[in-house]
Symmetry: C2
Subunit: 205 residues, 2 copies
């Protein structure tokens, strides 16, 4: 599937060969390189699986065997940035990382996520698309759990899980990008609005 190297799906189920066959590894590199080229030339929306296969000099089946789907490819392309983002809010310095009060971490999390989405705009949106399971992708459940954790830390009584779901919805890439690109909302206002939102939600407890 997409690169699971930073979050194993089922840690116990790695019964297959651990090492990739050399031709497979070569093709994966070719594909990733070609994908980055195409995105630079045509944008993420201009990248089609057929074009990618052709550019990489590889069959279409190979593309799908490597990445599972278009969304999977996009996630793989984002995996470095995503891993870095994850380690920042889980292990990095406060206020994003541990050491600050929950509310401050929540505010910082939203701001960081907004910045992330705006930086990788097309990619982030494409990685979310199509998926019947976009909400259950490992990264998404991690964000959700993180928000829920911080809510509990702040003493949230009422259904922290659903509150976290509501807050997550606010950070949906498609919505954020739409606000900025179509309605011309300035990113700073998004972050400020997030701050207001989580503050009220937590304070109301």
């Amino acid at each position: 599937m997409w690169d699971v190297s930073f979050i194993p799906l089922r840690p116990g189920s790695l019964s297959g060969p651990v090492t990739e066959r050399s031709d497979a590894a070569r093709n994966r590199e070719r594909l990733l390189g070609a994908a980055r080229e195409l995105i630079e030339e045509c944008g993420a929306d201009g990248l089609t699986m057929d074009r990618l296969a052709e550019r990489a000099g590889v069959g279409k089946g190979t593309v799908f065997r490597r990445f599972g789907s278009r969304a999977g490819l996009m996630m793989t392309l984002l995996s470095d940035a995503e891993a870095e983002f994850q380690s920042r809010f889980m292990f990095g310095p406060p206020p994003l990382g541990p050491g600050a009060p929950g509310l401050e971490r929540l505010v910082a999390f939203g701001a960081a996520r907004i910045a992330y989405v705006l930086e990788y705009g097309e990619l982030a949106r494409a990685a979310d698309e199509s998926a019947h399971n976009r909400f259950d992708v490992p990264a998404a459940v991690l964000w959700h759990r993180h928000i829920e954790l911080l809510l509990r830390e702040e003493g949230m009584d009422a259904d922290p899980r659903l509150m976290a779901m509501a807050l997550s919805a606010t950070l949906d890439p498609e919505r954020l990008l739409h606000a900025v690109r179509i309605h011309g909302i300035e990113p700073g206002r998004l972050a400020e609005s997030w701050r207001e939102l989580v503050t009220r939600v937590v304070r109301g407890a």
Copy 2:
């Protein structure tokens, strides 16, 4: 409102005939009937534009001329329910309609919307899909404006527009249906969580 045939793309350009040609009207009825049949038989997800054209005994081009897109078709099928929903929260009895305090109306709006989405599940989701402009569809901007209005009525200071956007995100059909169908959340908990959310947001003012 919903039926795209009633919404002139460029309001000033109504030079054409106001009345539908009889064959057009006949085909529209055929198509809507066939669509309802197919949905009953195969579910909304099983309705494809090709099958619909065949069932209605009509060319595929006709389907797209009438409804513009699959999402447009779904919206048309929902237009009665949508119109009824709209008139309830705009003109109906309190607490959903005017006459109750803003906060109570907000709570009622969310509950009604959640019930609506759960009732028309597949349809509501399909009507939202694909669209690059799903947030700018007339009904969506109406809901957004309504929420924003109620927030202002409750004295919301900080950026009511973005707050309304955040609250709208929470009511996204795809998310709601995912929570209920995949994670088995009970609808009542969704409504209760919405109540907590809007209460805190408004009270924090």
